[in-house]
Symmetry: C2
Subunit: 439 residues, 2 copies
Amino acid sequence: MEPILDLIRKKRDGQALSREEIQRLANGAADGSIPDYQISAWLMACYFQGMDSNETDALTEAMLHSGRVLDLSSLPGPAVDKHSTGGVGDKTSLVVAPLAAANGVYVPMVSGRGLGHTGGTLDKLAAIPGFRTDLTPERMLKLLKAAGACMAGQSAEIAPADRKLYALRDATATVESKSLIAASIMSKKLAEGVQGLVLDVKTGAGAFMRDRGDAVDLARIMARIGASFGVRTAALVTDMDECLGWAAGNALEVVECIEILRGAARPQSIRLERLCLELAARMLMAAGVEERLGEALARCEESLESGAVLEVFRRMVRLQGGDEAVLDHADRLPQAAMVETQEAQADGWIAACDALLVGRACCALGAGRERMDSPVDPAVGVSLLKKRGDAVRFGEPWVRIHANGETGLAQARELLQQALVVQQGKPEDHPLILAEEWS
Amino acid sequence: MEPILDLIRKKRDGQALSREEIQRLANGAADGSIPDYQISAWLMACYFQGMDSNETDALTEAMLHSGRVLDLSSLPGPAVDKHSTGGVGDKTSLVVAPLAAANGVYVPMVSGRGLGHTGGTLDKLAAIPGFRTDLTPERMLKLLKAAGACMAGQSAEIAPADRKLYALRDATATVESKSLIAASIMSKKLAEGVQGLVLDVKTGAGAFMRDRGDAVDLARIMARIGASFGVRTAALVTDMDECLGWAAGNALEVVECIEILRGAARPQSIRLERLCLELAARMLMAAGVEERLGEALARCEESLESGAVLEVFRRMVRLQGGDEAVLDHADRLPQAAMVETQEAQADGWIAACDALLVGRACCALGAGRERMDSPVDPAVGVSLLKKRGDAVRFGEPWVRIHANGETGLAQARELLQQALVVQQGKPEDHPLILAEEWS
């Protein structure tokens, strides 16, 4: 067997590693038999040299099989999950999971916590009093049978090699490698034992992949990995230049989801609702429940209107220990102590409302975390009264800031002021879905 | 202060780090306050992105000042050292140090042990019974005053940051970076407190820098660093396609040096002797003892002929605890149990005798070490009876193998057979000195 040093050198010099070699590295990282400094040197070499499709598949496989894989064979129907690469106000999971579940697809959703300017589904769910996401595989299976969907945090049993490698990447500036990102996401998603996957790769100001070409590459790599593992995968590249919907901040985002689920979406939620429907429709297709997009979309729209989706969500909240009364009384969710509005400084149309700055404003208020171990405040955030393409007048309120005390308030005000771009003349419409890859 | 993560990212993205940033990394590596996995990621980023001259100077300075710097101010004359990047049969130090010392230059030589196919000066000296190289700075100063030259191993007090970084580079395939190599060598050499330096950068089959362009680059970088630190530096790029001299293997190389010092050099040693004179002449120039190359060379040649150099060597061996009788009785040096000859398989001229393969043959016999902690056998090695450009006949012995038992013998035979290239017609002469850089 070649020494690990030779594998690092091989990658450094642009050669591809074999399946066995990748396996040795991933397993050695996970069990600690290869020192971290060698793993991080290999990761940096991967950053510069990339990984080919065999290497990426091998890494995905090694990380996937480093832990437990859910056995969903006892479910009476197909299971499909959706995953987003993260954005600002991206609360689609809370709507999409019950949407797909209401239409015959089981959704064993495993989510993460937010970091930096992007929110995490687990943090949003934590805003619902009592809601528990620490589920064992056995409990997940029970919940799926009872509600059709469940939402859990990643357990230590799932892809521990990915956990280890991700922690090292995070500390060594090697996160931003498309192959490593793809293998990391796919190993965790494939560990859910699903038959289909829908991936929402975000691009634009508020996304990790600011460049559209990079996002398309990532979508392609992940769709290809899905195919390699026999999982039907749709990877959409969607716009993240502006905050999705009107809410950014955990409890506020739950409020926005409930409005959509109740059929009472505000005009500022239209684009978000559209994305939820588009993603859920692809989940039906990935599950084999529907063949054609139009029919899948129509079915999703009908179930949302009929209240069937709201009922799935209600059951899920109840079964996971959450206070289901929040569905009828949004004021039972955490509320910020003060709400102030900010006014537009010019007449015109909103040409942009930079999602990154909105996300950073929320973070300043305490809605996000800079470090994985910091707490978040569920109540704080911003609500957008106006969105891109809307007309505004000088002095008209365009955003509400929900704050608890003075913490980060001045900074949030400044960031939001910077975020808003008002122009003369109505801006062109931006497409929501920029690319779509099916495996 | 920026987090270390941001410094890694900065380098990864091709930006130069500031002097303070480099200092933080080097010091943090040495004192353990920055984890190894971050240091190795930074080193790999340096491998890919290189370092500019300010960064290289800053790293040299940080490593130099991480430990003790010799104070040679009490010496009555200038001090100059010579350093080689390592080759096969490269025993110049043993001749060059007394050569320069016999001509008014103090030589506080600090050397390393060999690794892989290249030998190390310390291993050659260890073949002399009793010779001690574990010298304190105080002892070095005494020996310099008494003999004009001394030869020591690197103490833990000299450039500890380099020691730490080198160990990490060695384990992470980041050794082969010109800036890192230059900073590593120069930090240790500058810590000797010398006024001048002569660097022998090897290139060719048996050298670390196989590519001549790379070797020229490295020579330039090191000469420039020397200038930055006010040390007059000559960096020569010299040929390492063939073994230097007739001997490869520790005791055998000492024998060859003694022959040269006694004025009894074999024809196979001519190129080696020439290189020793050329290097020593540059040391005289770097010291300011001579201004012109021709005069410096003439002075070195005369001192060698007069026996003055042999006397310096004798004094040095005696003062460092070595058995000086070996100068008159080479058979007091360790001898291998068996000596066998290998014959040429064709008539013609020797076009090449691949230094890498000769070095690996010695290593197989036990003369070198694969790992830093393995022992070496001082007695084993090879003696070349014929060199490049010599005529040979079928069946004529061209090399002697000195072995202790069967260990590696078959492998050494095979490697040597591969090393020899016999052609019809006399090959062209190869230049010895390929490039020369002065700071």
